[in-house]
Symmetry: C3
Subunit: 430 residues, 3 copies
């Protein structure tokens, strides 16, 4: 054990001693940094909650024979995502901060920049990393829902590591890493494209490569696979709305009161209007009070407002959210017609509404205009091609090597009994 | 689409450009605004969580055949509430900020006041709106639980729109809009009367107008309708306690450390003592360890402390919470005797303890005294008459037009299969 | 009633009037206090959520016939814990602030110190109390899980009152109350030893004194008792991770940006690595994708990093979390071999990984070294002896007086039907 700390101690000691910022900052500057950093840390906690939201949503909307499998994937996704983003992703996405390979650089960065205002006045290096890391892991989670109930867990995890470690941050670097898309004038405030549609393209690639669940499409008819627990799915959607306060609110990258509060208003109104859009279109299409469409409508509104949450008036947010709520239903119906089987509606929520939300920046709000709309279309195209192409490539390699899909017997009996050895629910009264 | 942004762009552009507060505020003032606003934004997120709390509580305490229906109502309630409060309620409740009809005024207000300290130093206009909007929607949610399992969903939604859009903000304006009750000396810190008893009166009106669920009272005996999921109800109560940190803490309207932290201590101690009160009285009355009464005791304590959370010592909070916990059980038993069927105990929690908590301001703490107690009684009476009268009127009109209640067949088979086409839980292992 | 306020009013009025800090602090100092206090208040809310996390985890991992009983215990635990910590525990743990018996001293302290910087610049007296009170109640909750499904509820509650009111704060005072351990050089940042292993020793004492559940060990074989709801347990673990942001983040006792954000990074990376450790060792030992071990691995990582979350580099946190994740599986297997029946794995998570995490302070990070390691071992020994001895003594007295364990009939039929009169789940479709 002495060996361990002999190796690590010198670096660590230096860092810890230099964590205290009292020396380098004025009281005023430290105060501003403290407030902004506090907001960002809370946004991290909120974005973290989104992972629980996805876990609830996906396990609630899928069959009880696969509950443990879904939860297993969704629990390990943020864990694997954070670790791979630590080791590879962060440095890849924000190359300007990197000066060497691997995660030992953290110390270097921190010592050099973090607490001085030359890092930035919004937050420390650690906060930046953790916010981005929590964000990154959501892109993989989006895929998880679409491919649920038949994907091999090993294939899913390898996909997650490569997608979060390479594809997502590469695309992200083009915009948030001050790359070419940013220079061109593309605008994506909190990631309708960079997070949601990237995840959505990954989901679409997965669904195409995997094929539908057994018995989903019979004689051209869609067979419903009833979700195990509607309350669980509802909890998931509320937690995602809750987490989106941090996802969008934190994307201001400071606690600046005007913008942050405007962003929260726009986010909530789009979610509310999305619920109404999903309600209305769900009623028109299915002739029933379709809770699933209301829930997906909320998510649609949230995804839709994400690209321009800092640019809109509340009136525009209501409109964007409502349209997204309508679209998510139409998209789900269309995917069913195309026999693309998305177990939880992830493609409709994240891809369809991610694209719409990105276009909305050119149609509504402070940046509206034909030039901007063109930039948005180009950005959507480039990111989409990269994300979809990358995901197809990864899934193709997986399919040719370890295989993507569990056996038919295994799928029919449920993944829980085969791989996990326990059931999701054991409710008995002897 | 060009039309859309041609219309909206000029207004929007102006706003966005003026969102940046750097010009008008001193660094010191901006810093204070930023901190206070940050606290208020987090309180918004916490109050939002209360809607999830209500959804869990109500679906957990009601029968599994109506789970989807409850969730449908509780998911759309904050959505409808936010939208109607956006369009009508906010301007009605705070008339001093209004200078024209409808929600396009937001921009005007914001431009004029928000980021200058002449709006206020606690938060921006947007924050104010969203905090109040989240608050407003809770009043409708309270009604939702009481009338569950037999109300027509169309009737419920129309009620919600009118109640959140008109009744609640009208009553609120008398006190928080600096109206007549406020001038008279009535005190209600965070809404034991203005939110909880207003919701509770609406619930009582609903229960009277609807009548009890089929088979609830047979030959003078109360028939228990077992709730579908006690864990779900427990999650709901914990989330409501969690959300109450924002409900009461945000009602300080700033992050002032002395008052906010005192309020949180009082809120938590009242909840803790309420649990004990519900436990004790539940044991006395029912001779069992009644978890339902412990959970409602927590809510009773929270509602009870809400009117005077900034005025009490911790000792008084413990006492108020404990008494509220006792009262909620006695109230539930009394309602049963009166054959008033409240599906989740909402009237006992929000009306009984809302009234008690408002009276407690005259009995304990910094404002205690006969004069104050008289003011409290008058305020309770006026708000109660308006809320109960308003709710009765709305329900009466609904009853005479579209009808309030589902058919007996429909009620017996459960609302989920009829209106929603799915079940709350599908737990099977093939 | 006049009597009540005549007695209480003079004290109360004074306090409330003096709550306003404007007189005594400079703007600058007030601003710092406000930000730090805001962070601490949010950490309180997060630590509160941990109680919901424990409730979900424990009821999810135990049998459905005992669900209500678990929830009853876990709901009343924070209530009883807060009240007993109010009356006894806080003054006992922080004797330097006490100047008389009981909770009326609160006012005295507050008036004298709280808002002046001579209390401290991190938070008010109220915030300090509530943060510590929420913390204290977690130590009892840890015990609750281990002894579930067979302990008498009366015995459990008496244990909780004495453990939270006396044992926990006495041990805590040796370190956080600036006592002998602190003077010696023992280091425990947020309580791997003072909270988690103290709770874990209490759990071990309980399990030894109670004996295993009926039918748990048959002919030397371990019989699995399937948990009622894996999604519920998963929600619990995510909420505990979420709450740990406040548990560790708040232990900085200010919002100082460098340390708080480093602590959050370390906390999250240890949790993520713990998940991987539990995954790997679960697969090695059980040859399956064991979700329970992944979930306990997350908690193991969190407990493991708690003692040194402010001292580590992210690299060390990953290592500590991963090792803790391996250890929690080995510990669970070992306890099974020793026929010690811990219903939810609390001893392995909180005791085993609490001890490991405390040792890790001497092995990794800024304080690593043989001297520190020795201090850590001594501290672990002293706290362990006191916690285990105290818990054994309390349980012994309970066993000799009211009895610790329910009857065999009662245990077999489930505690819910006997003591609580309702079932945890009633999912039927007539």
């Amino acid at each position: 054990m002495e060996v361990v700390y002999l190796i690590m101690k010198p670096v660590l000691l230096m860092i810890t001693e230099l964590v205290s910022p009292s020396a380098s900052l004025s009281d005023e500057a430290l105060n501003i940094l403290t407030v902004n950093n506090l907001w960002m840390m809370l946004c991290i906690a909120l974005v973290f909650v989104m992972h629980l939201g996805f876990a609830c949503l996906e396990s609630g909307f899928t069959q009880s024979k696969n509950t443990v499998n879904i939860l297993f994937k969704n629990t390990l996704t943020p864990a694997i995502g954070l670790v791979s983003y630590t080791i590879i992703g962060f440095n890849l996405m924000y190359p300007e901060f990197a000066n060497g390979p691997g995660w030992f650089d953290f110390s270097g960065f921190f010592l050099k920049d973090t607490l001085g205002l030359d890092y930035n006045i919004g937050y420390t290096y650690w906060t930046d990393f953790l916010f981005q890391g929590m964000f990154a892991a959501t892109a993989a989670t989006i895929v998880s829902g679409a491919v649920a109930e038949r994907i091999k867990i090993s294939a899913y995890f390898i996909f997650t590591i490569v997608f979060v470690g390479f594809v997502y941050p590469t695309i992200g670097s083009w915009q948030w890493g001050e790359g070419a898309l940013h220079a061109m004038g593309f605008y994506d405030f909190a990631g309708s494209t960079l997070v949601h549609s990237v995840g959505g393209w990954g989901a679409l690639a997965g669904v195409i490569m995997l094929g539908p669940r057994l018995g989903k499409f019979i004689n051209g008819k869609v067979v419903e696979k009833p979700g195990s627990s509607v309350p669980l799915a509802t909890i998931g959607v509320f937690l995602l709305w809750f987490g989106w306060f941090g996802f969008n609110g934190g994307s201001v990258l400071s606690a600046e009161p005007g913008t942050t509060s405007l962003v929260l208003v726009n986010t909530s109104l789009a979610a509310a209007a999305g619920a109404l859009g999903g309600f209305v279109m769900g009623y028109i299409v299915f002739k029933r009070l379709d809770l699933g469409m209301v829930l997906n409508g909320i998510l649609a509104g949230l995804v839709g407002i994400t690209a321009g949450a800092d640019l809109m008036l509340p009136g525009s947010s209501l409109l964007i959210g409502f349209i997204a709520g309508l679209l998510v239903v139409l998209s789900a119906v269309t995917l069913d017609k195309l026999k693309l089987d998305d177990a939880v509606g992830a493609i409709s929520v994240h891809l369809t509404c991610g694209v719409f939300g990105t276009l909305a920046v050119g149609m509504f709000g402070a940046k509206a205009g034909w030039d901007q709309l063109l930039n948005q279309i180009i950005g959507i195209g480039i990111c989409g091609a990269a994300a979809f192409g990358g995901a197809i490539a990864i899934f193709f390699l997986l399919k040719k090597t370890i295989g993507m899909r569990v056996s038919a017997e295994h799928e029919e009996q449920g993944l829980d009994s085969h791989e996990h050895g326990i059931r999701g629910y054991t409710i008995t009264y002897e």
